[in-house]
Symmetry: C2
DNA sequence: CAGAAATTTTACCATTTGGTAAATCCACGA
DNA sequence: TCGTGGATTTACCAAATGGTAAAATTTCTG
């Protein structure tokens, strides 16, 4: 059993754990936690069900491993918001990074969205441990910028909520966007310009 | 079997169908389609499982009935956007109505969100039949307003996407908002002011 | 009230699904 | 090359779950 022990993982272990997590990300993001089955994950990973249970303690272990591993990637764009940069440019760059992530990592976005939508039963501790401190820190940073008259008076918390909502919308509600968006135009380019205008105006003195 | 026939439903039928749909809305919105069980719905409705299958053809029938019945309510705020009203006021009023709905009907919001998030497997026809024509109509209306110089140049489609995203965020991602939002302040009032500012600036000439 | 119709319960069933035990296979270092 | 530990498969199991048949009960109607 590769779990529990602190031995360095073998080549086979690394390969298979990666394959399982990648398959699981696919299946969980498309069907949700309850809708996903170990058989689906096993099939997509090219392994047998007992074999994936050789690498993970169970369905919940896979899900939780995914969530924790992806948390860092997910928070990176916010971490990169630089206190020494120009406030307006920093926030607008953050919007674009988040939008790029929605395009490049839609599975990750939907995985998190599904978990939050169901009340974050398995992720609440992670939210409090990882997300909340970062969120508070960046809210305080924006508030400082406001106090220094470098930004107009606005609500840092709800500004960040709106950035999350508008950018992740393109990944999480892709099915709806696809139905409504006219074919032939690049939704990402349009979204990018639209969000730049929306938040650009909001941040203007 | 009350289904199929066109007889007018009895008092008992109306009462029990309502109880089932209300219970189902609760359970589906909290656990998603796959995560919800007929036993849970039955328990919450105060009926036995075979009894709810006397009123509905199955789990999918309940889910589909809910989605269709709620579609009208869901689209009402957009329908109410008046072509003869003041453009800026109409759109800002729409934002507030959507935000109020996220507060007053969070179960409905999460039900739709879950369905869309999973690729809208049971709702795609409804989206094309009900949502798309309305969406196109209102996009055209906003475009007319822009052409008439009553609104600044903006992207109608993505403006509506952003309104949906920011307002529904408070219902769909409530678990996250609850973790991050400071206790003791009314998130709805703050959100209302924030969104009024965000979209108000966007719509200013 | 009597009978019919509608409603509800009891007792099931088949499938799916997360998970396990044990046998088997295989890679790799001595 | 051989043996050992890691990796994989085979054959299961118990619980959960969507659904059904038919009996029993309640409600409605004349």
């Amino acid at each position: 059993m590769p779990d529990g022990t602190m031995k360095k993982p073998s080549r086979i272990q690394r390969r298979n754990r990666r394959a399982i997590l990648d398959a699981a990300l696919d299946v969980f993001s498309r069907h949700g936690y309850r809708g996903a089955t170990l058989d689906q994950i096993a099939a997509e990973a090219g392994l047998s069900k007992p074999n994936i249970l050789y690498y993970f303690d169970g369905k919940e272990d896979i899900h939780l491993t995914l969530l924790s591993q992806l948390m860092d990637t997910w928070l990176d764009p916010l971490v990169a918001m630089d206190p020494s940069g120009d406030p307006r440019a920093e926030i607008l760059a953050y919007v674009q990074r988040k939008l790029d992530m929605a395009r490049d990592l839609p599975r990750e976005s939907r995985l998190f969205a599904g978990e939050i939508l169901m009340g974050a039963p398995r992720m609440l501790p992670h939210l409090r441990a990882d997300l909340q401190p970062l969120f508070d820190e960046k809210c305080a940073l924006i508030q400082r910028w406001i106090d220094d008259r470098k930004l107009p008076d606005l609500d840092p918390q709800h500004l960040i909520f709106s950035i999350w909502a508008t950018t992740q919308h393109y990944a999480d509600f892709e099915a709806q966007v696809d139905v409504l968006h006219p074919a032939g135009v690049d939704p990402h380019a349009r979204a990018s310009a639209h969000l730049a205008a929306l938040f650009g105006r909001m941040l203007k003195q």
